[in-house]
């Protein structure tokens, strides 16, 4: 099947939301640098934040090949309404319980998305998905082991984990906000779609949460935090962009 203009638009939409998620969550998680709960975790969390920026860069490069602007311009010269990250990604780091649960929810979704994309007919994307498989596996391993540790830790750690899950679950469902080209992406085999991804994600995380002695809220009673994919964001995103792009905007043509 030939790729029509609609397929390419759908592909761009997919790449933008993935890359924006990674750039923004990577920037957010880097805010733990120097503040992590212990030295080793500080280094690990910062290193994973860097990984996310690298993944974003790889996807912005694919967008450039599809005719979009270069990665620096795309990353640093847009306002919040032009970003397609989910609202989960842009929220402040909060306390470590929230950041950890955000990583758990987000990185499992990302790992499964990459797994599905490894067979995408758009080969450059399939290659990127295969390249980062091990990196993302470590990120989910990190989240799973902490979840188990703190779920079976003290009264305080378990309570914090459960409260963070309750507060974050609806935001996490916002990851799977349907795009405008779901059918087009599926019919040619670019991507199996957000609904399929959400189902795989729930199946994957449910037993891990249960084994950690915790529970997921009833999905039918939670409102997904949609909007991010369409450029509707919380008031937290624009200040983050202002800070992230402060130096770049002084002289966008500077050679680094």
């Amino acid at each position: 099947m030939e790729l029509t203009e609609k397929h390419v638009e759908g592909l761009k939409e997919l790449l933008y939301k993935m890359a924006d998620d990674q750039l923004i969550i990577g920037h957010r998680n880097s805010e733990w640098t120097g503040l992590g709960p212990l030295l080793e975790e500080d280094i690990a969390f910062s290193s994973m934040a860097q990984d996310k920026i690298g993944q974003a860069h790889a996807l912005y490069e694919l967008l450039e090949q599809l005719g979009e602007q270069d990665p620096d311009t795309v990353a640093f010269m847009r306002n919040d309404t032009q970003f397609h990250c989910c609202q989960l990604a842009e929220l402040p780091i909060g306390e470590f319980d929230f950041s950890l649960i955000r990583q758990f929810f987000f990185d499992h979704a990302e790992a499964l998305r990459f797994e599905m994309l490894q067979n995408s007919i758009f080969e450059p994307l399939a290659m990127v998905a295969r390249k980062f498989r091990g990196e993302v596996k470590y990120h989910t391993m990190h989240a799973d082991i902490w979840l188990k540790q703190l779920g079976h830790g003290t009264e305080e750690s378990k309570t914090r984990m459960q409260n963070a899950i309750n507060e974050t679950f609806g935001l996490a469902l916002g990851i799977f906000e349907p795009g405008d080209y779901e059918t087009e992406l599926q019919e040619v085999g670019i991507f199996a779609g957000e609904a399929a991804l959400q189902a795989a994600w729930l199946e994957k995380i449910s037993p891990i949460v249960q084994q950690a002695g915790l529970r997921l809220p009833d999905i039918s009673e939670v409102t997904p935090a949609y909007g991010g994919r369409k450029g509707i964001h919380t008031p937290h995103l624009q200040p983050l962009l202002d800070e992230m792009t402060e130096v770049f905007r002084i002289d966008p043509a500077a050679d680094w």
Partner: protein
């Protein structure tokens, strides 16, 4: 059965008590684990340093980023520092005469010279 805590916020959250693995006591300090890294399959693991961690699983998670985020690595071991049995420096003298024992060092035998001499002799005879 949900947790009944002295902290009313915990009780209000209706958190189920763990049944399989009981609650743990808070740790005052984390223990240390020694980290051993293997750079290629089949080669020796080499000691690269230590990490603080509450469990071996988390020690592995930390070791990966502390010691294996750059360069090549195929495998990691962690072992509790307290599980390593060590010699005392005051007993260092048990090793003191080791460097003198040339007879234990294969290179101290001039075997190659004798083999060469034997081979030459054989050549001359033939």
């Amino acid at each position: 059965m949900s947790i009944q805590s002295l902290d009313p916020r915990v009780t209000r959250a209706h958190i189920e008590e763990n049944t399989q693995e009981g609650m743990q006591e808070p740790l005052d300090q984390l223990q240390t684990y020694e980290v051993f890294q293997q750079k290629k399959r089949g080669t020796h693991h080499q000691h690269v340093g230590s990490v603080h961690a509450p469990t071996a699983e988390l020690a592995i998670v930390f070791a990966k980023e502390q010691y294996a985020r750059r360069g090549v690595c195929v495998n990691l071991w962690v072992v509790k520092t307290s599980d390593i049995f060590i010699t005392e420096y005051e007993d260092e003298d048990i090793f003191s005469t080791t460097p003198d024992k040339y007879h234990r060092d294969p290179e101290s035998y001039k075997v190659m010279d004798r083999i060469k001499a034997y081979k030459e002799k054989q050549l001359q005879q033939s």
